[in-house]
């Protein structure tokens, strides 16, 4: 790896994003708007005393899902464009190392994810009074790791798509099952054993668990660090797999 090439790639990816106002709005504004929708959906619910609001249960899960889904989508499309426009092959003829390219993408989108979750967490906390017991910075940390997880999954999946349409088709296959089984709709403890096992193998599950730990505990728990470590291992594994899909030579 070469720091200058890594920095140049990060700057280039961010620079491309800067010209793309829609994607910026999708990253920075849409999560807060969707949070607002969820808040108002449950605005008039009547709860027995002592039972937390539905928003307090769903809010943290949404904070985990946004960066994952949005970064997956943006990365897989951007990387696919890089492959189809010929720039990827052109880059492979320069001294750049594959790791500079992959980590350049990772760092650029992790930065955007940090902004995104800072805004979304702030809105959830101050505007809608989301009850987070733990430290807000940890929420942002989990969101960033989760976003990079989405980035690495997107980089990996883009290798198996030939067109942007095919890339989008990975959403229902790769992303939606994780949303269904991560504990958003039904708590994991109430799922049947097959779904629980499947859920154990899905990375999004661990980010939801980590966020639930933060919202429920004042101090960072070892459970949370364990979940975070699992996410980090999965994302590094996916990045390593992605580097095998970036071939210098075509046959």
């Amino acid at each position: 790896m070469n720091p200058r090439m890594l920095a140049a790639t990060t700057a280039r990816v961010l620079n491309q994003l800067r010209h793309d106002h829609r994607s910026i709005a999708m990253i920075l504004v849409v999560p807060s708007v969707l949070l607002a929708v969820v808040y108002w959906l449950f605005e008039n619910e009547t709860l027995p005393p002592g039972i937390p609001r539905t928003f307090d249960r769903i809010g943290p899960i949404m904070l985990a899902i946004f960066p994952f889904v949005i970064m997956f989508l943006i990365t897989s499309i951007t990387m696919l464009r890089e492959r189809t426009s010929g720039t990827l092959e052109r880059l492979m003829t320069t001294p750049i190392h594959k790791a500079d390219l992959l980590f350049g993408y990772g760092i650029a989108f992790a930065f955007m994810a940090a902004l995104q979750s800072a805004i979304a967490t702030g809105v959830a906390y101050w505007v809608f009074g989301l009850d987070i017991k733990g430290y807000g910075g940890l929420v942002v940390l989990v969101a960033v790791v989760n976003a990079v997880l989405g980035v690495s999954l997107g980089l990996f999946c883009s290798a198996f798509a030939r067109t942007e349409f095919q890339a989008v088709q990975f959403m229902p296959i790769v992303v939606i099952p994780q949303i269904l089984l991560c504990g958003l709709f039904v708590p994991r403890s109430q799922m049947n054993s097959v779904f629980q096992t499947l859920s154990d193998w899905m990375p999004l599950t661990y980010s939801v668990k980590a966020l639930q730990e933060i919202t429920a505990n004042v101090d960072a728990t070892s459970e949370m660090w364990r979940d975070l470590t699992i996410m980090a291992i999965v994302l590094l594994g996916l990045l390593a797999l992605s580097s095998f899909t970036l071939r210098r030579k075509s046959s």
């Binding site: 200058r4 090439m5 920095a7 140049a8 790639t9 700057a11 280039r12 620079n15 491309q16 010209h19 793309d20 426009s85 010929g86 720039t87 092959e89 052109r90 880059l91 492979m92 003829t93 320069t94 001294p95 750049i96 210098r248 030579k249 075509s250 046959s251």
Partner: protein
């Protein structure tokens, strides 16, 4: 001891999805000078260039650039490449595109400006690449290939779609680079451009018909017109 040639192919054979597109091609390109790779569309020019750049797997034979097998990591800073379809980020400005490639070749911002000036795009440097005309767009790609100041430049149809004044301008620049010792391999399907090269590789249907100078081409093809001379050689090689 003889200096190793800039590019040397021996029995180079390349297959694309089981179809053989280059058949046992052998040639040597000495260091310095402009070598034209000429042939009709579909003759295998781009595949040959991609092989030289090391992004195309070779089925058999050998291909060496500056004495090393094509695609060796050590070659990457030494060889510049302009692809046929401009490999440029449309959503970045001209300057940002060239500066990115400059950074990858360990060159400065000043080098990027110089390369942009060399292709005559200085007044457009703040413009997004996607907003440029087709000819300007491909010149951004050319600037990205020039910025690394490589010893070998592989240019895939660099003058396609350019206005005649600019075309002459670019060929003069290629000449100047060659005079400074750069080796240029330039493909074209316009035979008129062949006259500006020191040496020609004539490619047709994935076979190398001949390697010769423009004068030798006129002699052997029995025509002062290079297009006619090329036809003459095709008839000589494959009698109708």
């Amino acid at each position: 001891m003889e200096q190793s040639p800039a590019i040397e192919a021996k029995g180079l054979t390349v297959r694309l999805r089981r179809t053989e597109v280059l058949h046992e091609i052998s040639f040597r390109v000495p260091e310095g000078g402009v070598t034209g790779l000429l042939g009709p569309s579909g003759s295998g020019k781009s595949t040959l260039m991609r092989s030289v750049m090391g992004v195309q797997r070779i089925a058999s034979g050998t291909l060496h650039v500056l004495g090393r097998p094509a695609g060796t990591p050590a070659l990457r800073p030494l060889v510049g490449y302009m692809t046929q379809d401009a490999a440029v980020y449309g959503d970045l400005t001209v300057l940002d595109n060239v500066r990115y490639f400059a950074a990858l070749e360990r060159k400065s911002r000043g080098d990027a400006r110089e390369a942009i000036a060399a292709v005559g795009l200085t007044e457009f440097e703040k413009r997004k690449a996607v907003d440029l005309s087709g000819g300007q767009f491909s010149r951004v790609s050319l600037a990205c290939a020039l910025v690394g100041k490589p010893r070998v430049l592989v240019l895939d149809e660099p003058t396609v779609g350019l206005d005649p004044v600019l075309r002459v301008d670019l060929w003069e620049r290629f000449r100047a680079l060659a005079d400074q010792g750069t080796t240029l391999l330039v493909s074209s399907h316009v035979m008129e451009e062949a006259g500006r090269c020191d040496s020609l590789l004539l490619l047709r249907d994935g076979r190398l018909l001949a390697q010769l100078t423009p004068d030798e081409l006129r002699d052997r093809g029995k025509s002062q017109d290079l297009e006619q001379a090329f036809l003459g050689i095709i008839r000589e090689v494959q009698p109708v």
